[in-house]
Subunit: 146 residues, 2 copies
DNA sequence: TATTGTTATACTCTATAACTATA
DNA sequence: TATAGTTATAGAGTATAACAATA
């Protein structure tokens, strides 16, 4: 029977290895984790101003300035004028940025297959159920002390 | 039925929230994640030279120099002379460092209880089995392209 | 010759604070 | 007055490369 701490150890190990895999992918694309994270969020949301982007990423506006500077220099995003607010700028993926996001999605799907593709439907459901439980606990835990 | 990508999304969400929780604990102790990681490893291994510590943490010796400098300044570790190799120094936890490591272990046990404590033994086993499968895949995946 | 750890240097991410332009 | 984003500044973690002392 699996003890509580054994499960937490496994969760932490998975977290560590997934982070490592993400970092390697970023490096292989000449990118960094933070920039990949921004591109991922931008692909998810569509064109958006920097302030909501900062909120979504959980960083300060200053940090977004730096990340967008770098991604603009590498040709993955562009800043455009906001239609109604002249203080704000809207960040948009370029075609190179879109192409990267699509590689990211493909890599994601491929990783999912490699990790759980040959797990029986029953075990897959058992895993999903357990993870949902853990996620719910983590959410309430982190909400208590923000 | 849970789709492959749904499970990967959950795994990534758990990874992200566990990392956030770890970072908050570090901050509340006036510490950083990297230093906590070193103390954790040092507590696990016992007194050890810096080179093997760098290998265990997956960073360069230069990085360990910086982390040990900081932890020595804050009184959590000390460098001592290596018994046989005069080039090397052995890093050891001070009593403050040991006390911190014990708080870390207690926090870990508490977190395990909060996350999976009230999961039925059957579901707990299902979760553990699924995580073991994922871990095995991650290990072989990361070993293929080091 | 090879290894341990350091100094030197640089880059990325991150934050806070002050400031500009606009709402 | 409040907000969007920037400049200025600082600190942490990370890396590579050159070097000293020792194996």
């Amino acid at each position: 029977m699996a003890h509580e701490r054994d499960i937490l150890d496994r969760l932490l190990a998975v977290a560590s290895l997934l982070t490592l895999d993400t970092a390697r992918f970023a490096l292989s694309e000449g990118m960094t984790e933070a920039r990949v994270h921004l591109l991922w969020e931008l692909h998810r949301s569509g064109p958006v101003a920097q302030r909501p982007l900062a909120t979504a990423l959980g960083v300060t506006p200053r940090t977004v300035t730096g990340l967008v500077d770098a991604l603009e220099a590498s040709g993955h995003v562009v800043r455009a004028a906001h239609p109604t607010d002249r203080r704000a700028s809207v960040v948009t993926l370029t075609s190179a940025g879109e192409a990267f996001a699509e590689r990211l999605v493909a890599m994601h799907a491929d990783l999912a297959t490699q990790l759980v593709g040959d797990l029986s439907p029953r075990r897959r459901d058992g895993l999903a159920t357990g993870l949902d439980h853990v996620l719910a606990r983590l959410h309430s835990l982190l909400q208590d002390q923000p």
